[in-house]
């Protein structure tokens, strides 16, 4: 589904004096990610994990080597084709990247409005895309999926971090993408909200045939959700591991319950 074949990525950092300095972000990466898999990428900050993720939807181009998604070499695509390809790949971000001046429902409907009338995008059927109300209905459907249906008319500033990220997931999935890319999805969240977001991602995998790639420096998050994970260090792939199912975690209904249990010596 997603293949990296001897991928290198170098950046030229432009200093204030205009002199360029070359930094190698990824060294000779080869790996493949299967369909309907939740794949983790772990590493410290600066290890190249976000760069690796951004190669998958062609936000970055490899300096050498090939990245293939569904057998297609992304670097060979023309700009318009690249945009089409990106529309089949959902993405969520550490800072959620919701548009502040749009309502929750409008944020989720946004990808649909970009793609209407575009050839080659996965269509929801002619009848459905023709009706004017259709994108909104579809957005509300997705908001229900992430349990945010009651917040459709609010603006992002009125939501908590976890709620924002769930809205972002709804937006990323509204086009039924084949792949969902998650760039540090829980790193701005407290543990309660992290659990909510990760539970939502697990439901995505259960109920939709979406491959999910999660980049995170939080090992707990990767172990709790992923099937396999790649470990990056200074831009080099040091291994891909199968994740052993962690012991079932106790679920807590509130922060104070969890805090008490943890502070008294139990597992968080």
């Amino acid at each position: 589904m997603i293949e990296f074949d001897q991928v290198n990525k170098t950046f030229t950092q432009r200093s204030a004096t205009g002199r360029g300095k070359t930094v190698q972000a990824l060294h000779d990466i080869s790996l493949s990610i299967d369909e309907a898999e939740i794949f983790g990428v772990v590493g410290e900050s600066g290890s190249g994990k976000s760069t690796l993720l951004r190669l998958i939807n062609a936000l970055e181009a490899p300096s050498s080597g090939v990245v293939r998604v569904n057998g297609v070499d992304l670097a060979a695509l023309r700009p318009a084709e690249k945009r089409l390809q990106r529309r089949r790949i959902g993405m969520i971000f550490q800072q959620f990247n919701l548009l502040a001046n749009k309502t929750v429902a409008a944020n989720v409907a946004l990808p649909l409005s970009l793609h209407r009338g575009m050839p080659g995008t996965k269509s929801r059927g002619a009848a459905e895309t023709k009706g004017r109300g259709a994108p909104r209905e579809r957005a509300l459907e997705m908001l229900d999926f992430v349990n945010m249906g009651a917040h459709a008319a609010k603006h992002p500033a009125q939501l908590s971090g976890g709620e924002k990220q769930r809205v972002a997931i709804a937006r990323a999935l509204v086009n039924e993408p084949d792949i969902l890319l998650c760039d540090e999805p829980t790193s701005s969240l407290d543990s309660q909200h992290t659990d909510e977001v990760m539970a939502t991602l697990l439901r995505v995998r259960q109920e939709m045939d979406t491959s999910i790639v999660v980049v995170s420096h939080e090992l707990e998050v990767i172990r709790g959700a992923c099937d396999r994970a790649a470990i990056l260090e200074s831009g080099r792939l040091t291994g891909v591991v199968d994740i052993a199912a962690p012991e079932a975690r106790e679920r807590f209904n509130s922060y104070s319950e969890r805090a008490r249990r943890y502070l008294e010596g139990g597992q968080e």
Partner: protein, 225 residues
């Protein structure tokens, strides 16, 4: 006071005419600001170094235009532009002719404001548009303008008020307007009371425009609520 009231009544028509002339000059120049200045500013934002569509030559061209228009002293600019004005609107005298140099200044001012307002939009918004496969047109119309709209309204308000100030000297090419009225009666005919009344009218006008712009901008801004 009675005598003043009488004179005011006597000038009533002239005052109304001059307000309409100012309105026409403002209307044309603001129309130019929005229809040309906003795209120019957007172009500078996109093409600037490190911008979403970096194009050095385009940025240099637009930036040069804006700098030149903004740096020539306005009175000289009006005079220097006369041949162009005559070519563009067929005359170099009157309210329509006055709208030409005013439009140039409005375009340059609003272009610079729009560029600066767009720079304030978080880089994450551009990244989101890219990840969703948005075209450049969609990036601008669906992402940047909606997120920057309150700032764009506020800066248009500022440009409007600047244009009132610029328009007051358009009497030199027969543009008329309230500024010209105030100078003719106040400075040239020593009717200071009429001039002060006119200045008060301009002050009230500016306050109303600013209040309207601020309110509209706040209504459009959901960033913190």
């Amino acid at each position: 006071m009675n005598e003043f009231g009488e004179r005011l009544a006597q000038y009533r028509e002239e005052i109304i005419t001059s307000i309409l002339e100012t309105g026409a000059m403002l209307g044309w120049s603001l129309l130019a600001a929005v229809l040309i200045g906003l795209p120019v500013g957007t172009g500078m934002y996109l093409a600037r170094r490190g911008g979403p569509k970096e194009r050095g030559w385009l940025y240099a061209g637009l930036n040069g235009f804006v700098n030149v228009v903004r740096s020539v002293p306005f009175l000289l600019f009006v005079v220097a532009l006369i041949p162009f004005t005559r070519w563009a609107v067929g005359t170099s005298f009157g309210t329509t002719a006055a709208a030409v140099p005013l439009s140039f200044v409005a375009i340059a001012l609003y272009a610079r404001w729009a560029e600066q307002t767009l720079v304030e939009v978080p880089q994450a918004t551009v990244e989101l548009a890219d990840s969703l496969g948005a075209s450049t047109w969609q990036l601008v119309t669906r992402f940047l303008y909606p997120e920057a709209r309150s700032g764009l309204v506020l800066s248009l308000t500022t440009v409007t008020i600047s244009m009132i100030s610029y328009s007051t000297i358009m009497g030199v090419v027969g543009g008329g307007g309230v500024g010209d009225f105030a100078i003719r009666y106040g400075y040239q005919r020593y009717e200071y009371d009429i001039m002060y009344v006119t200045i008060a009218v301009i002050v009230v006008l500016v306050m109303l425009i600013q209040a309207f712009g601020t309110r509209l901008s706040m209504a459009l801004d959901h960033r913190s609520r």
